[in-house]
Symmetry: none
Subunit: 402 residues, 2 copies
Amino acid sequence: MADRPVKELSWKTPLEVAHKPAMDKIAKTGICGIMDVIAPGIPPGSDTATLALLGYDAVKVYSGRGAFEAIGSGIDVLPGDVALRCNFATVDDEFVVLDRRAGRIANEDASKLAESLQKIKPTGSSVKIVFKNTVQHRAALLLRGPKLSTAVGDSDPEKVGEKVLEIKALDNSLEAKRTAEILNDLLQKFHKILQEHPINEKRVKHGLLPANAILCRGAGTVPNIKPLSEVYGVNAACVSAVSLIKGVCKVAGMKLVDVNGATGTPQTDFMAKAKAAVQTLKTNDFVLLHVKAPDVPSHDGNVKQKIAVIEKIDQMLGYLLEKVDLNETYLAVTADHTTSSLTRNHEGDPVPIAITGPYIRCDDVTEFGERTCAKGGLNRIRGIDLMPILMNLIGKTRKFGA
Amino acid sequence: MADRPVKELSWKTPLEVAHKPAMDKIAKTGICGIMDVIAPGIPPGSDTATLALLGYDAVKVYSGRGAFEAIGSGIDVLPGDVALRCNFATVDDEFVVLDRRAGRIANEDASKLAESLQKIKPTGSSVKIVFKNTVQHRAALLLRGPKLSTAVGDSDPEKVGEKVLEIKALDNSLEAKRTAEILNDLLQKFHKILQEHPINEKRVKHGLLPANAILCRGAGTVPNIKPLSEVYGVNAACVSAVSLIKGVCKVAGMKLVDVNGATGTPQTDFMAKAKAAVQTLKTNDFVLLHVKAPDVPSHDGNVKQKIAVIEKIDQMLGYLLEKVDLNETYLAVTADHTTSSLTRNHEGDPVPIAITGPYIRCDDVTEFGERTCAKGGLNRIRGIDLMPILMNLIGKTRKFGA
């Protein structure tokens, strides 16, 4: 949601330009600030950002993206398993990436393709695999077996026009070499199957990009963290369509709420998510309502769509303001990172934050935005501080000392 | 540059009183804040401050001033060497310090005196020495040999009217005792030679203070840090006349740019430095333009000269604003520490900071100053955060997570 000033918006940000009466009301009735989700200048990933926003020291506990992605997609990840985030992608005959998201392939096509990859076995190894697609081009791959390592590189070059990378061992251990070999073998086999798959033949006929390769990155394993119920003694739940976020929340011991129509895209059913959040709040102390939508147009450099998505989020927040009793509930609005619609990357600029609720030290900020919030009563905080701040407001932090 | 409010300036600071259109323009078109260079309330040294401003954790990596001073003065410091910052000073017959800077002795005199100290050997030891003067009263002394230690005290009492200190071992190791003995022996020998030196006889005849003693402090060795090229993948360079700063920058892997007329004094050639910085920027991603000048009148309690120096720095910045394309370059102005012209010491009050450039979240601060900047969009940051913030703006920080 957060951005840098955009030239075509007369040097305002999409958030500053958007019509957002609900966010402004939250800012006006609440306390505002800016937040370095990880640390000043450091561009957060969505996983490390969510860990930080849930109060964990991401720098210490982060164990790679893959496990979150797999857990969030419903795969059971055990200690020792190695999981990777995957993309369905389009490559040419020389393995040069033409599209990292296979034209943001629809869930339906991706599901059928994923099914055909389930039975593949790596040559000469007893390692078992699980491959599961989630939303659009997103998928997770899990390896289970003895002597695996997360110390392996990515096959995803993260740039269009570059060749798919051979996965390399990142240390000298036999485990890392073995894991890299297994992955390279699997990815070759995946390519062969996808290349000849009827779904892809159909896609090409319809002028769509074929999803003829799997790119993978972020090998990881389950991090060792205490659930929120143990840290703060709260029942916590998460409404999100994105498996990476769901994975982080599940590891934090949160209940995952599935919502019909929640897709993680700009076309997601915002109101269905809002309704689910209100419902969930009845039986939980803390609900994280996560909306991926504004990140998509940011990565695509689509400023207009970003503004439109922010306005839809605002309507969603309007519903929350109506349905949630702010005499006994605190409501915080923020972003997990800045994404520049110019660089199309996550950036390390801070995000705005506003918290409203019954006993808040309301400041005089009247608009929610990257710059207005910088004048607020929270000043500049870190992501890791947000959860203690919220838990303190609802009486769930423990006194340190006597 | 930064100061506390001064009574004679109607409780304004020298920076607040100075005519500084360029700094104000940078503040007006940029984002402002205040910065605790090390931590709130902690008076930074120039070396630890520069380490922090270059993004290093000074508290962890600082290994004494001496090595920076020696490296910056062109002495090659190897692991195991012990280097100390030295002052040419004036003492009476009882070794009481009359002037810690020998009347801010001119480079020419200091060079000749330094030459005469080169051949001295410590009694009964194979340790070799290098003694090199830099600017005015400043010099560096290096000891090279086996079994040396940096755990030795200073001989510099840091106060006029006090006796030169005997250098003491700071731990119980044989190495520390040995190093202290060698140093005490050397300083005695230095005193003898200086006392009888024709240059000092000439100085006294001309009514100048004789530089008849060497005070030393800050025994140190080379710190173990990664160069900026490795941390951020940038080519970095430094324009500074001060060996302590040059030493820190060299250790950070920065190119040192020598400028004719740059002296580290209020009489330095400000414009020559500005021109060198603009030129250097053509082949470097990051240039640190360091001006020592305002620190000198601060330590002398000369408020009027401090204001005049700040105004000269402003003219220098005016040149930068003219010559640097701010559509593709970011420009940050700050100080490495507050120096009170009343206490004449470095103080732990935060310094102002302003950053301008193409995609900055410009705030509504219109004047550069210790108090105006406190209302800016950066809020309050730490010195160690500045480099990631700048590197993020030019796309040189790495995403943490996925």
